[in-house]
């Protein structure tokens, strides 16, 4: 997978906050507060669904939780929302410990995968619901509902019944309902999973711009890597209830903390072996140059697009040989599978020349810039 990274501030905390001003009265839209996990764990019988998670989400940050099925993403979200109580550890919202506060007193907006709109209420009443239960004055409710529906471009549907809306429209209403009461944080559990691809991309943009303009803290669960990379300031990668790495999309791709993260984000050529000062010795005995000296058992990660061939090789690059096993044309890139003494290698080449794809069986020399190889030292 080759993803173009949008340059964004590494901390992601300081999203510019344009106060959204409705027609009259005080501006609606409060910035979110931070969320902090302190060795948070949830155990079901003898299975840890969430295991010792430490995490700081900055106010106004967009954090995605990404991981394979059953890795504990939903459990994390339900812990924050309060539908699951932690077996141990603490959860802080701002500087308040909310571990033992019931869900309805947490002031956290939740958007569910199936939208969870109330079928017996129309769009307007759905969005008004959180305000009505908070006993907000009638005219204030009308003002805020109008504001929230405006924000998600659903004003003209206010009098519709929920069942008369498409999936994307329902999701917008769910979003409006979750932001209308100015929650302290917004949680979303795979909110776009049920939508088709084009709509999903549109909604991603809208969610992102809404989050930015509100300065809302968002914790977003997804199993779609592309979505996580597109949306997030930072991504938390989970596996088996544990956080594997929390970092910016760029760093997750270029500097994965371990082979799991490396394999999870796009393709990676992973070499196992030992770092011996300036060289990395693979299990098969090959010596590969390292940019920085290191020692110990390690895994070297080289992304397919970092592999260069023949004449593009430079001084100091490893010089390896392989046989083309298969080439695949994928739009703007050519994907080349090689068989090498180091094992199978995957390379991609941008199609910006008239070169033909090397036929199967061609022997090629290849290498990479040691600066771009990423070494993951294990324990």
């Amino acid at each position: 997978m080759t993803t173009a990274f949008i340059e964004q501030s590494a901390s992601g905390a300081a999203a510019p906050r344009a106060a959204a001003r409705p027609a009259s009265g005080k501006p609606i839209g409060t910035a979110g507060v931070g969320v902090r996990f302190e060795s948070l764990a949830k155990r079901y019988n003898d299975l840890y669904a969430v295991d010792g998670v430490n995490l700081d989400v900055a106010p106004g940050e967009f954090l995605s939780i990404l991981g394979p099925s059953g890795s504990g993403k939903t459990t994390v979200l339900m812990l924050i929302a309060g539908f699951v109580s932690p077996s141990s550890g603490r959860l802080l919202l701002g500087d308040q410990d909310i571990s033992r506060i019931p869900p309805h007193k947490r002031d956290i907006g939740v958007v569910f995968q199936n939208y969870a709109l109330f079928p017996h209420l129309d769009v307007r009443r759905n969005v008004a619901f959180p305000l009505e239960v908070r006993k907000v004055a009638k005219d204030e409710i009308a003002r805020r509902v109008a504001w929230a529906l405006e924000r998600v471009h659903m004003s003209q549907y206010a009098d519709r019944r929920v069942s008369q809306l498409s999936g994307g429209q329902q999701q917008r209403v769910a979003l409006a309902r979750a932001i209308v009461f100015e929650p302290r944080a917004l949680l979303m559990d795979e909110p776009l999973a049920a939508l088709d691809r084009n709509l999903r991309v549109d909604m991603q943009h809208e969610i992102r711009s809404l989050q930015r303009s509100l300065g809302q803290t968002v914790i977003y669960v997804t199993h779609d890597q592309e979505e996580a990379l597109n949306l997030s300031d930072r991504v938390a990668v989970m596996d088996h209830g544990r956080l594997q790495q929390v970092d910016t999309p760029k760093n997750l791709y270029l500097r994965p903390a371990n082979p799991f993260v490396a394999g999870f984000f796009g393709e990676a050529n992973l070499f196992r072996g030992n770092a011996e000062a300036a060289a990395f010795v693979t299990e098969s005995g090959a010596r590969l140059p390292l940019a920085r000296s290191a020692r110990g058992k390690a895994v070297l990660c080289v992304r397919p697009e970092m592999i260069v061939f023949g004449d593009k090789q430079k001084e100091g690059f490893p010089s390896l040989e392989g046989t083309v096993v298969e080439t695949r044309f994928q739009g703007s890139i050519l994907r080349i599978s090689l068989r090498t003494p180091l094992g199978p290698i995957m390379a991609v080449r941008h199609i910006n020349t008239t070169d033909d794809a090397p036929p199967e069986g061609t022997r090629l020399t290849f290498g990479w810039d040691p600066e771009l190889g990423h070494l993951m030292v294990q324990e």
Partner: protein
């Protein structure tokens, strides 16, 4: 090519030579003939006969029987019957709702066993279930024995052959109908709606009142209609457990047939009973009808 022509030929040559839609309509009509005929024969014809009889039968048509029904004794009976049916319906709803809620929300072998129990109780004869209440509730029955041994009462309480017995019996027999109508409705309520309401700041009680209960209303309405109409026409249980002290409109009909031998009067009473039940259905549907709750738009 020749092959293709022969295929298209055989398609247009299907029996009747009609397109798929027309054929479907024909099949539907054919299939409906039998039930419609049965309905007419077994339901409309007797009903017509009943109405004809109530209007004086061979010596009619007149409304003499209906005039007789205006007598205070019948009005009181009708009022009493409606009241009985209403209280039984409310009691069934109040008892069945939490029960159905538990069954719908607790996943366990116990809840499955209870549902099986409910269904089985529907198979048992009403007569057997009614008589068993006599054994339980009579002067030296299980309940009175227990109450006396526990020192709650010194004399046996009159629990059967009176109104108490009728209520207990009718509620017991009609409860499963309410339960079996409510259960699937509650079961179908999406748990994420409840979680969503809570996360939006509604307290558990508000969540129940404003989300869960409105969504369960359709089941409650159909259960109530079922129980109420059954209760109005109930005969065996009030007759046996009432011990002659509880008189309902249905018993009056029996009396008219067997003692007064006034068939037109009995027929007129039945017709009025039917109309009242229908009216109640319509009113109920208007007040709390499913159509209104999930109404089509706001206009």
């Amino acid at each position: 090519m020749g092959n293709a022509t022969s295929i298209s030929h055989s398609i247009t040559d299907t029996p009747g030579g009609a397109d798929w839609e027309t054929q479907r309509r024909r099949v539907t009509v054919t299939l409906l003939v039998v039930p419609i005929a049965m309905m007419a024969l077994l339901f409309l014809v007797p009903l017509g006969y009943l109405v004809w009889l109530s209007l004086g039968g061979p010596s009619g048509p007149n409304v003499n029987s209906y005039r007789q029904l205006a007598a205070p004794v019948y009005l009181n009976l009708a009022y009493y019957t409606l009241q009985l049916a209403f209280i039984v319906t409310v009691a069934c709803a109040v008892i069945a709702y939490p029960l159905a809620y538990l069954l719908a929300n607790i996943e366990s072998a116990v809840s499955r066993l209870m549902i099986v129990g409910l269904v089985i109780s529907l198979w048992l004869s009403v007569l057997a279930r009614t008589y068993s209440w006599i054994i339980i509730l009579q002067r030296n029955g299980v309940v009175n024995d227990l109450l006396q041994q526990a020192g709650i009462t010194s004399k046996p309480l009159p629990l059967v052959y009176n109104e108490t017995g009728v209520y207990i019996g009718m509620i017991h027999i009609l409860l499963p109908y309410m339960g079996m109508t409510l259960y699937p409705t509650l079961r179908a309520i999406d748990g994420s709606l409840v979680r969503s309401a809570l996360s939006l700041g509604a307290s558990p009680w508000t969540t129940f009142r404003r989300v869960y209960f409105p969504l369960s209303l359709s089941g409650l309405v159909s259960g109530s209609i079922l129980v109420f109409t059954m209760a109005i026409g109930f005969f065996v249980t009030p007759a046996i457990l009432g011990g002659g002290r509880v008189n309902t409109i249905v018993m009056a009909i029996q009396n008219q047939v067997q003692v007064l031998v006034d068939l037109p009067l009995a027929a007129a009473t039945s017709v009025v009973l039917l109309l009242v039940s229908l009216l109640i259905l319509v009113v109920y549907e208007r007040i709390a009808g499913v159509e209104r709750i999930f109404g089509k738009g706001r206009q």
